[in-house]
Amino acid sequence: MTEPVSHLHRALAAGQFVVTGEIGPPKGTNVGPCLHEAEAYLKGRVAAVNVTDIQTAVMRTGSMAMCKLLLERGIEPVFQMVCRDRNRLALQSDLLSAYILGIRNVLALTGDHVAMGDHPEAKPVYDLDSVSLLETMTRLESGSDLGHDFKGNPNTLDGAPKFFKGCCVTPCTDEVEPQILKLEKKVAAGAQFVQTQAVYDPVAFEKFMKLIEHLKVPVLVGIVVLKSAGMAKYMNRAVPGVQVPEPLIKELSAAPKENLKKVAAEIAGRLVRQMKPMCQGAHLMTLGWDDVVPGILANAGL
């Protein structure tokens, strides 16, 4: 057992049921509201807060800077890193930069394609993928980088980082085997925890967890807070690997508008409670509704 490098690492290693939150940096320099939400509703309630990295390929303030601002406020961040925008030089450099700023938790992601975002003319990079990004972190930790000197020997780092390395998986996708095979590679490449894509079906999730039992990696089930029936329907239509069951949509439709936040917290809390025995934690993606987090935790009995 390696010495925990972060609070999140320590909590999972100790077998605690861990909850993480998530914030998305703003488009622009006005980070005040986002930081306020994190301080008011997430601090002290969740083990760590993910900071998205140019989420859905819509240009925003960077994840690393936002992680640093969270650290300054006593909130432990999970630095999300996608492979879409940087080649291996920039990714390695940013990993070292993140480390010297005090960032320890890193979540390696492929990243939504640029075609999905607001700069569709941009060049998609994908020099590394999620598996090789994890491998890269492991390499940096060992004291060398991906490059080599003119004799072909690996370059030596003057000071090596140490991360708590995470990855993602989509448990409720229509073809789950290729996801699992890739997850196996991620774990082999160094992934130490998993935060999943949104799950709304505890039965399907339980099946999935059985299929990955052999990996012995802590899994935080992902829940995107459902803000309305319309959003749930949109997710079913447009978000790959996410399926919101009809009864939940009905529950949201039946809720009066002024009660939506309450119902959203009830649904998310119930899902966490139902899936708690199957996994090691929950990752709450609130998409700006951070104020529902205390309600979710209460409903989940946490």
Partner: protein, 229 residues
């Protein structure tokens, strides 16, 4: 083969604006097969240009010629027209043809009538699809013959991303998820062990990362030198 598509007519007219006498030059190679740059398309484009120039009150004289391949020195002698006699040549070969012709006729403006798009094949009536990216380091042996560089939108090498959606890519419902095709093919072949392998990082030197690419057959270089001596 190389697939190309016609540039919009407005773009072509804008390129030709400074010129009075133009040769539309077709190519009998790949672009004939994908129905964009052959003799027939050269004739059609010439008619379109004549009509458009008349409508705009311009005096544009347009002739047509076509050779077997514009990318090959040996077919140049089959030109019936003399490119040197024109203000400009509108080549509807792929970019290789346009580039090579402009090298052979440096004094003649060689203009592209097509956008060269990809290496692909005709998969259904009227449909051409990308099958190869020309990455310089072929991986088809372990991907069931389906190229992840060309057919995965992100050119991933270790399997599907989270954007795979009922066999389609997150970008577009009409676009197959390349990695799901690979997964299914490997499964069919009983070779999912190939999918399980963690792949080494791509060497982008082979894919333009080390600059402009060349192919050298040393034995031919040597033979040429000997015969020259």
């Amino acid at each position: 083969m190389i697939v190309a598509e016609r540039k919009p007519i407005e773009q072509i007219l804008a390129m030709l604006a400074p010129y009075k006498r133009v040769l539309v030059l077709g190519c009998g190679g790949c672009v004939t097969v994908c129905l964009t740059g052959g003799e027939k398309q050269a004739e059609e484009l010439a008619s379109q240009l004549r009509l458009a120039s008349r409508q705009k009150g311009l005096e544009l004289a347009v002739d047509v010629d076509c050779i077997t391949r514009q990318c090959d020195r040996e077919f140049i002698q089959n030109l019936k027209a003399d490119p040197g006699m024109y203000d400009a040549v509108l080549s509807i070969a792929c970019g290789v043809g346009v580039g090579f012709m402009s090298e052979l006729y440096p004094g003649v403006p060689m203009l592209p009538g097509l956008n060269t798009t990809f290496y692909g094949t005709n998969t259904a009536p009227g449909l051409w699809a990308e099958y190869c990216h020309g990455c310089g380091d072929c991986v088809l042996a372990w991907t069931g013959g389906i190229c992840p560089i060309a057919r995965c939108s992100k050119s991933l090498i270790n399997g599907t991303c989270g954007g795979t959606n009922h066999g389609k890519c997150e970008i577009n419902k009409d676009m197959d998820c390349g990695w799901l095709l690979i997964y299914k093919r490997l499964k069919e072949l009983g070779r999912l062990d190939e999918y399980r392998q963690k792949r080494p990082l791509r060497d982008h030197r082979k894919d333009r990362g080390a600059g402009v690419r060349r192919l050298i057959h040393q034995e031919l270089v040597k033979l040429e030198e000997e015969s020259g001596a």
